[in-house]
Structure formats: C-alpha cells, structure tokens
Symmetry: none
Subunit: 218 residues, 4 copies
C-alpha cells in the first residue's frame, strides 16, 4: 500500500487498463464481492481464485500483488467518485443556478445515493479499509477532503452570501454536514446492507429537513 502518491497510482492504473480479459473481469468481480463481504485482510487470494474459477497464479499474473488487486478495485471508484462529483454534480448544479440550498442538497444526495447504490460493494470496501488501514487512510483521506471540501466550501459560501444559511464558519458547517451525510451512507450501505428497501424519496426528504431545520419545534 501507499505507493507514494495515490494520484499517480490512479493514473498509472488507468494506463494499465488496456483490454481486460474475461478472467480478469471475473477476478475483479469476485474480489469486490469477497472484499466487501469479509474485508480485505480476511479474504485470501486462493479463496478469490476458487470463487472466480481461475488459477491462483492468474490473479498474480494480472495484478502482481494482493494489495494491487485491492487498488485495482478501489481506484477506479475513487477516480469516479471524486472528480465526477466535483465537476458534474457541483458544476452542473452551480451553473444552472439551481434555486435554494435545499434543491442543491437534494440533487447532490440523489446523485450520490445512486452512485453509491450502483457501487455498493466497492463503497463498503472503501469504507472498511479506510477505517482499517492506516496506510490507505493516510493516502485517501487528504485526497478526499482536498477535493470534496473545497467544492463544498464554494457552495456553502455562495448560499451564505445569499442569506440562506446560518452565519457560522463554513468549516464548522462542513464538520456538521460531512459526518451526517457520511454517517448516513455508512449506516445505510455498510452497517445494514440488507435493509435497502426504504422509501428513498422520503428518506432524502427527512435528511434534508433535518439538515435544514434541525429538531426544534417551530
């Protein structure tokens, strides 16, 4: 782990993604499933090989290292989750002059929930390893915050100027929203991965309502 810079790793990784063999595809799929289920450290390469119906050597021919296999699983997800969010979501939202902060939040949450829902297992892996691995945490966390927080800051400041948000420092606001949304995702997609038949619309509505108005009556 911690091959120096994660960004470099992402780029290198991308370049290596020539054509994926069928077996490669199968290996990654299986690895995702098992890592998500039992955690990286508790999943052996022989287990993966067996489940993917592939010789164990094949895994190492393509990924060289178990660590590398993990990265091959995680990095594309990171790559997609951050810049996409940064550009698509924020950019789109901001440029289209979406009305109030609530609308922005709703758009953001809906977008992210769909993304995570489609990559639920990888999200589970990332969360688990983020907590579990010192190395990964050191690599990924700054990368996350640097990219996301900066975007959020801009949005918050914009709406603060418009007078829609309370007048406390953006950093404080971030420290409130971030764990709330993060915690929501974690508890929904990682802690209770089976219990996924909620009414999404209503769920998001409640979340937004809570973020905006809190619990106090009136």
């Amino acid at each position: 782990m911690s091959k120096g810079n994660l960004l470099d790793a992402i780029i290198a990784q991308t370049k290596l993604t020539k054509k994926q063999t069928d077996k490669q595809q199968k290996i990654v799929e299986t690895a995702i499933k098992l890592f998500a289920e039992k955690g990286y450290a508790n999943t052996s390469t022989s287990e993966i090989a067996k489940a993917a119906m592939v010789a164990e050597g094949t895994i190492f021919r393509h990924y060289g290292t178990k660590d590398n296999l993990l990265l091959s699983v995680i990095l594309p997800f990171i790559k997609d989750s951050i810049p996409t969010m940064a550009e698509e979501v924020f950019g789109e939202i901001m440029s289209k002059n979406i009305g109030c902060f609530e609308d922005f939040l709703r758009a953001l949450l809906t977008n992210r929930i769909h993304f995570i829902n489609e990559n639920r297992e990888i999200f589970q892996i990332v969360v688990k390893e983020l907590l579990y691995s010192d190395e990964l945490r050191k690599d990924l966390l700054p990368f996350f915050t640097k990219n996301i927080l900066h975007q959020i800051s801009k949005v918050i400041n914009l709406y603060k100027k418009r007078g829609e948000l309370i007048d406390i420092p953006s950093s404080t606001i971030q420290r409130m929203i971030f764990p709330l949304i993060g915690g929501y995702f974690v508890s929904r997609f990682v802690l209770q991965p089976d219990n996924l038949d909620l009414d999404e619309e209503a769920e998001i509505g409640n979340l937004i309502r809570f973020i905006m108005d809190g619990l106090r009556k009136e």
Copy 2:
C-alpha cells in the same frame, strides 16, 4: 467469533474475571493498543506476546484463542457502554428533570465523549471490527440498537410530548441523530485520532445547535 449469543458471552466473561494476573493485565493492555493501531486481523499473537513481554503460550493459557482475546477486550467495553449509558446517563438525566432537550443532549454528549475518550483505543477497535467482521456485526449491532435505541426512544417521546421536538416519527428522528452523533464520534476518534485538541465545549455547542436548528437562517 460468534460464539452463539453475545449476551451469554458477556455473562460468561464476567464470571471469568476472577483475579487478573499481572501478565494478563499486560496482555490485555498490549492487545488493546495493537488492535487499535493495526486492526485485529493484522496483529499477530506473537507480536502481542513480544510487546507485552510475555511468552506466546501465556496468552493462550489465559485466553485460549485469539478471538477470545478480542472478546475479552471488547466485551467489558460494550458491557459498560450500554447498560451504563442506559442506566446512569438516561436514568440520571431523566430523573433529575433536566430542563430542555438541549440540556439533555449536552449532558449525554459530554458524558459519552468522556467515556469514549477514556476508552479511545477500545472504541477504535469496536468500530473497526464492527465494520470489518461480518460475524461481530451480526452479534453486536442488534445488541446495540436494541439497548440504546429503546432508551433514546423514550427520551424523544418525552420531549415530543413536551412539544420541544418536531412532530415526525421517533424512528425517523433516530435515524437522523444516530448517524450524526455516531459519525461525529467515528470521525473524531477513529479517522483523525491524532487531531484531538479541539475546543470540546465549542464543538459540542455547534453539534447541538446544528441538531436543534439545522442550517437555515432565521
């Protein structure tokens, strides 16, 4: 893991807690430190033995199994964190007729932050393994929710009757508060375990303010 029922394990564990040898004490201390630092799966018993300056055999003489050592570390914490909270905190708070919901929240948060702060490493272990280990999650999660949520429900209902809280279902409110507070704890004590010199008073203040009033101006 998953030696049947966790509650049974707790009870059995309690009974076993006769007199702890010096060595036992040292073993548990060291295990806590290492599990918190590198995760259960990445910590070998020989490592623990070496760091505790104890023969590897000694660990197994007392705990029989590595899994068992983990439980011996986690269970007392769980045992303390749930019932204590249930009885001490809630009981105390409720009986003393503490005024508004805000005061209740402040008392609760302060109390829990201190508790976790004093057991920071074990908290890290519990969080990590909770996410990481399928088994543990299956055992602990229901136990958690059953005990805590029930108490919280009572409180929320009380304050809702008093008209201090918005009129949405308690379960919904829980689903908002829980991740927020949990996320706060996790991000503060697990994700950024070094960065612990915040202004606690102010931090709690912000948290409460956000919980109560959300982000909307006015």
Copy 3:
C-alpha cells in the same frame, strides 16, 4: 540437465543451429547477459523475455526448456574452447617449433585470455554453473579434463624430454599449473569482472616468471 551425454548434446545442438531468427539471436544474447550477471537459477524466463523484448512463449518455442536455453548458451562456447584450443593452439604452437616452454606458455596464455575476454560473460556463466550445478559439473568436468589435460600432457612431456622442465610426473605438474591458470582466469574474469584494466603484457610476464622460477631468490 544431464541429458545423457554432453558430447551428444553438443552435436545435436550443432545440428539445430540452422538459421537463427532475429528473436533467437536476441534471446540468447539477453540470456547470456542475465545468466552471467545473476546466475542461471536467479534469472527467470519472464525476465529474459522482457529484456529481450520477446514474448515468453517465444523462448519456449525455440528452446523448449530453460535448461536447454542454458545449454544453447554454454555449448558453443565449450565446443569452441576445447577443440579450438586443442587443435589451433597446441597444433600451431607445437608444429611451429616454438622455442622454449616459456614461449609456448606465453602463446597459450595470450590466446586464451583473448578468447575468454571476448566471451567473458559466457565464461562467467560456465564457471558459476560448473561450481553450482552438480549435474553440469558431472557432465562437463570429465569432458574438460579429458580433452585439455591430454593435450597438455603431450606438451609437458615434450619439454621434459628437451630437459626444460623439472623431472616430476606430468600429472603433478598439471595439478600445479591448472589451478594456477584457472585460478588466474577466475579471479580476473569472474571475481573481479570490473577491474579489467590491468597491463596484460606485464601480467602475463609475471605469471610466466612465477610458473617457471617460483619465488625463491637466486
């Protein structure tokens, strides 16, 4: 290794030497370089393939076996080093009625040093594997001694008859000269392969002087 008789292998090898593809050429060159550098056992075929910019399969298409590739590298050298020496060198030298034993020695040494210098890497491989591989030693050593020693014997006997050499058994003389010259080559070309800028003329002079007169003063 030890495909029966090495002589047969040499002959078979010779027959196989039809036309070498460019790739074949490249493979052998690369194998020589790598075997010399890191030893046969520590050089993988994939390494060779990569360095030769050839697919790994190509190596096996041509040489069938890694062992076989080693032989393809070694045998031509052996084939050249022995008979050439036997015929060219000895024959030439002897027939030309070269004067004294010293002159013969000088001619021999000069000739061999040039030959080894031009095939330094293969010489390194042969020496290393000769010591390292039981099999190869069993195959090559008798082959060497049989061919070389026989020639040397004739020469020594000739000069002994001429009264130029001391009167001890030829076999004893051989046991003296052989390690000296061999040791000289090994230490010069294998042990200190970088340090190759000696004054060759002087070096050979000293060697001969020592062989002829030893260390005693007067």
Copy 4:
C-alpha cells in the same frame, strides 16, 4: 543478503547463538549438507525440513529467513577462518621465528587444509555462493582480502628482507600465490570433492616446491 556490514552481522549472529535446540542443530547440519551439494538457490526450505525431519515452520521460527539460514551457516565459518588464520597461524609462526619461508608455507598450508577439510561442506558453500551471489561477493571479498592480504604482506616483506624471496613487489607475489593456493583448495575441495584420498604430505610438498622453484630445470 547484504545486511549492511558483514562484520556487524557476524557479531549480531554470535550474540544470537544462545543455546541451540536439537532441532536447530539438525536444521543447520542438513542445510549445510544440501547447500553444499546443490547450491543455495537450488535447495528449498521444504527439502531441508524434510531431510532434517522437522516441520518447515521450525526453520523459520529459528532463522526467520532462508537467507538468514545461509548466513547462520556461513558466518561462523568466516569468523573462524579469518581471525584464526590471522592470529593463530601468522602470529604463532612469526613469533616463533620459524626458519625459512618454506617452513612457514608448510605450516600455513597444513593448518588451512586441516581447517577446510573439517569444514569441507561449508567451504563448498562459501565458494559457490561467493561466485554466485553478487551481494555476498561484495560483502565478503573485501573482508577477506583486507584481513588476509594484510597478514600475508607482512610475512612476505619479512622474508624479502631476509633475502629468501625474489625481489618483485609484494602485491605481485600475492597475485601469484593467492590464486594458486585458492585454486588448489577449490579444485581439491569443491570441484573434485570425492577424490580426497591423495597423499597429503606429498601433495603439500609438491605445491611448496612449485611455489618456490617453479618448473624450470636447474
């Protein structure tokens, strides 16, 4: 290999030599036999384990690494072979005012031949790995030459002053004697390890005679 300084390794190694278990003893013995026979790279730890009638894990419990096992075999030999020679042999010889250079040589050769004969297999290992492993060569060769050559220099100079040796530079003399003796040892103990029933007395006599007087008649 190449744990920085070999001298340090020797010292560290010595300290680690607490009490050897029976199994440890067996492991080292077996390793010596197999390494000598087939070379380090061609001997697998499982082979050693099987031959030593020991679980493979036991090897690693004691030596941690295959490399380390090799060092555990080689270093005591080195440690004994160099200083012993330096102090015992040279010291003794020089101080006792042993008569002529021939006597010195005879004493030295006899001593070393006995030492190597008693450690024949380890000597084989050292020679083989010295040629085979770049790392080891870089570590050991300077160590060898520094310790041995310095001693030899003193002796040679002494006898040169006494007028017993020819008047050419000591370094040149060394470059003659060293390969001769080294080559003799290698060819006798490594190349033809089976053929060990020579008449040692006569053998040494011839060697000395050659070293002193060379091949020239008269």
